[in-house]
Amino acid sequence: MSLFLIVALPFLGALLPGLMYQAGRNACATATFFVSLTAFLGLMTHMPAVMAGEVVTARVEWLPALGLNFNLFVDGLGFFFAALILGIGMLIIIYGRFYLSRKDNMGEFFTYLLLFQGAMVGIVLCDNILMLLIFWELTSLSSFLLIGYWKHLEEGRQGARMALTVTGMGGLAMIGGMLILGNIVGSYDLTVILENREAIQASPYYIPALLLILLGCFTKSAQFPFHFWLPHAMAAPTPVSAYLHSATMVKAGIFLMARMWPVLSGTEAWFVIVTGAGLVTMVMAAVIALFKNDLKALLAFSTVSHLGLITMLLGTGTPYGALVAVFHILNHATFKAALFMSAGIVDHEAGTRDITRLGGLRKLMPVTFVIATIASLSMAGIPFFNGFLSKEMMLKETTYTTLFGQPLLVPVLATIGALFSAAYSFRLVAHTFLGKERDDYPHHPHDPGFGMWGPPALLCVLVLGIGVAPFLVEPLVFTVTEAVLGSAAALPDEHLKIWHGVNAALWMSVVAVVGGVLLLAAFAPLARGWAKAGPFAAKDAFDAVIATIVALAQGITARLHDGSLTRFAAIFTLTVVAVGAHAWFSGTPAPLTRDPVPLSGPEIAGWLLLVIATVSLLKWHRDRFYALVLMGVVGLVIAVGFAYLSAPDLALTQLSVEVVTVILLLLALNFLPRETPVESSAGRRLRDGALAIGAGLCTGGLIYTMMRGDFLAPSISAYHLENSYKGGGGTNVVNVILVDFRGFDTFGEIIVLGIAALVIYAITEALLSSPVRARLLNRPVEDVAGDPHPLMMVVVTRVMMPIVLMVGIYIFLRGHNEPGGGFIAGLVVAIAVVMQYMASGFAWAEARQRYPYHTIIGAGVFVAGLTGIGAWFFGAQFLASSFGYFRIPPFEEFELATAMGFDLGVFLCVVGAVMLSLESFSRLARRSDTEVSEYAMDIDPSREEQALETGAQAAGKET
């Protein structure tokens, strides 16, 4: 099966349980199970190749420019982990089906589980570190959902948050580390990185990369001092704990350390950090685990301890250490998943997982007793169980390991760890199942159905099978170890066997087991001492850190971003000015290489006009009408400036937009106060003035140097000038750029314009259906002009209308070759129509409007889009235009270009958008006492004459 399918299956399958949760719990579980099974079988099809030492790859280039490729590969290590994830996943699915109650939403649970499974499989099969990071974060997110699955439990929510914070933080650090690694090697492909051991270890960035990546691994795998999240994640339903904390989530960090082993290991830094952290974690967590009374907390800390063990082994940097680590990953996954499931069974059936309330379950739950005992003995490291084998090998490895120059340090600590490990394993069995039967269990305990004990029982078969006949898994373990070692080291000459002879490791083992039994015998007084010592609660420290960070963040936000626009506009301006000034003074500006354009008289006059208008506006901006007039002046000067500086299209656009903007603001001023009161203090105005002058100096200086300097890189404009006629069929290059070269941009822009108009319409509708409507209808009449619809204006606008429309069409048609085009034509036509509204009144104009403006906007976007799609039928790209010359007698030869269709869309969209905005404003202006006249003019002599002739009936109608 394709590797892509194996990774995609869980993600696609995640839809199934979510969609079919109403089909019942069995249906959900079955669907989920078969998704995992299919992926598992697909993986198994690669087994022969992998066992033969081959690497199966599947590659798809996604964003090659960024080095982000969807490359997958499966070698021994990836295969091993994927098989664990999918295999144990299937057992968990069966177990979870029977564990969850009717109240739990099974579809939701299995959806999260499959998402998580997919992310995990993605991590282990990924050949691109950028993809790996994405999957890595996906495991953090999906495990958050899983841990917090019981949303009603506060501990569940807290545990989920804590897990997400810690692993997310680690993931963030890892992103940095991975990017450094990719930069050193020059490729983000894992297989390439793994071949560059020398380059990476010689790089000065090796240590930062190592630290950042290890931060990711340690947080994920709960290594000291980031171990504290794992026990809190135990608030999750037991199937989740069994899955995340035996075979998957926490093994992701281990996996990555193993994966990166060939390039990162073998240095002093790696050895000290990884072995050290592993050793501390192993011993500390084993001690804590012994004194935990919650079954799951005990198992959680034992997991942390065993992860520490594996980490320590990987840290040694020897091939033998790697071999033992791989073997223990396998063994730990089997017995720990079984133990979690049996703890879940006890919790489920006895109603509590508090060890102090349990005991004597041996006869009541015989099956669970056998399962838990087998798994516990394996965890304790008793011969003929698989835990014994890897523990024995681990102890052997420690005797060769010298940390900080002390040859005894590692073996002694490892023995202590193993001793406590044996002690808590014995305690788990003894205090839960042995002893006297009690009569105060919350529920009457009994063995569960096969669905719940089947999966752990199967794992116990593996535990015993591997323990008795380790040679069965030897090929697998060796293949995986080979993959871990890569080209960095050769496989050690060892075999997995039960009896290694009487050696140091055996004696250490004996000490651990005997010591474990003695420790358990003395448990009661020890536990009292432990309780008195008051162990340090990592959660409190974590909460305190989080609270401090939150307070800090809130403090900064409250100061910078307190909701006051004025405030953050000022802060923003100040920051930009400061950063810009810093760049200016610390760098060397480009030389002024271009000769200035010579000056003549008129532009100085224009400049004076602009500056005077602006300064006057600042001085008298409180009179809002006056400000509007001055703004119009500035806009006009700019339009003239555009025309003067060889930009006729811009001049036309600026001119027409100016008209529309002023009309718009006039309409708005109809409702707003006419004057701005004096509110700011003089000091504040001074401050704002200083900021404004700073910003002005910056932009002015910047554009001056820019204009006087040459382009730093060759401009693409030459291409546009050259191909405008050849490729676009138009001589107006600006228009050809708009409708052809960058037509897609323009398409987006007209859509934005349309949306803006619809937003305005929507706000108007909302206002008019709120209490504002009543206030608007009844607002006091202020100084009204004597005649709202003056005769002369009505006549002139109506006479002008056809002329303006013709000008619009003319500008539209010539746009491709001469200044003009859809934007300008649209604005001109809109102005012509607005004039009718202004002269003859809203009601009159509305009655004569044939198409609603929304439709015009929609038609515009539709026509523009259709023109673009039309190009597809000729095998061209979206919006590529074509043109030809035609001659219809008696006319002269003329050009037709498909770009005209697009420009028509632009035209319609602009007309619709401008009209819809202005119309919305005018609709607000209607009052209750406004007479809706169906005549254009209030005073019409001819109408009165007519009325006199036809009699009183018509005269009555007029009023």
């Binding site: 354009v597 901006h621 703004m631 820019m706 822009e749």
Partner: protein, 125 residues
């Protein structure tokens, strides 16, 4: 010429920034319009200045840079759309609260003023 245009951009920016920092909606809207002017002219000028060289193909030997012009053309139209939306938002806020301050004022200052129409609305509905 460059000096004139650069100083004009500077003046327009300064005016825009100053007005944006005012406390009522209308000057802020006018301020953003001025900033749009400044930005549009700035972008246009980034293509360097030229007189009598419009980018309309003819027998001429040199043309000014057409690309910034095309970009600025749409920018002008879009800035109209933006202004219209902002004006509408400001208008809506003013009509609903009878207050055209850009920021919420400190507690207590406008309670009496704001409470009256709100109470009236409640009574009506």
């Amino acid at each position: 010429m460059e000096m004139l245009l650069a100083s004009a951009v500077g003046v327009l920016t300064a005016a825009g920034v100053y007005l944006v920092l005012r406390q009522r909606t209308f000057p802020v809207i006018v301020g953003t319009a001025f900033l749009s002017y400044a930005v549009n002219v700035f972008l246009f000028a980034s293509g360097r200045l030229a007189i009598n060289q419009p980018p309309v193909l003819s027998d001429a030997t040199a043309y000014t840079d057409p690309l910034p012009q095309a970009l600025v053309l749409t920018a002008i139209v879009i800035s109209f759309g933006m202004t219209a939306v902002v004006v509408m938002v400001a208008l809506g806020a003013y009509l609903s609260s009878q207050d055209d301050h850009i920021d919420d004022r400190p507690e207590g200052e406008d309670d009496a003023q704001a409470a009256a129409p709100a109470a009236a609305e409640e009574a009506r509905s």
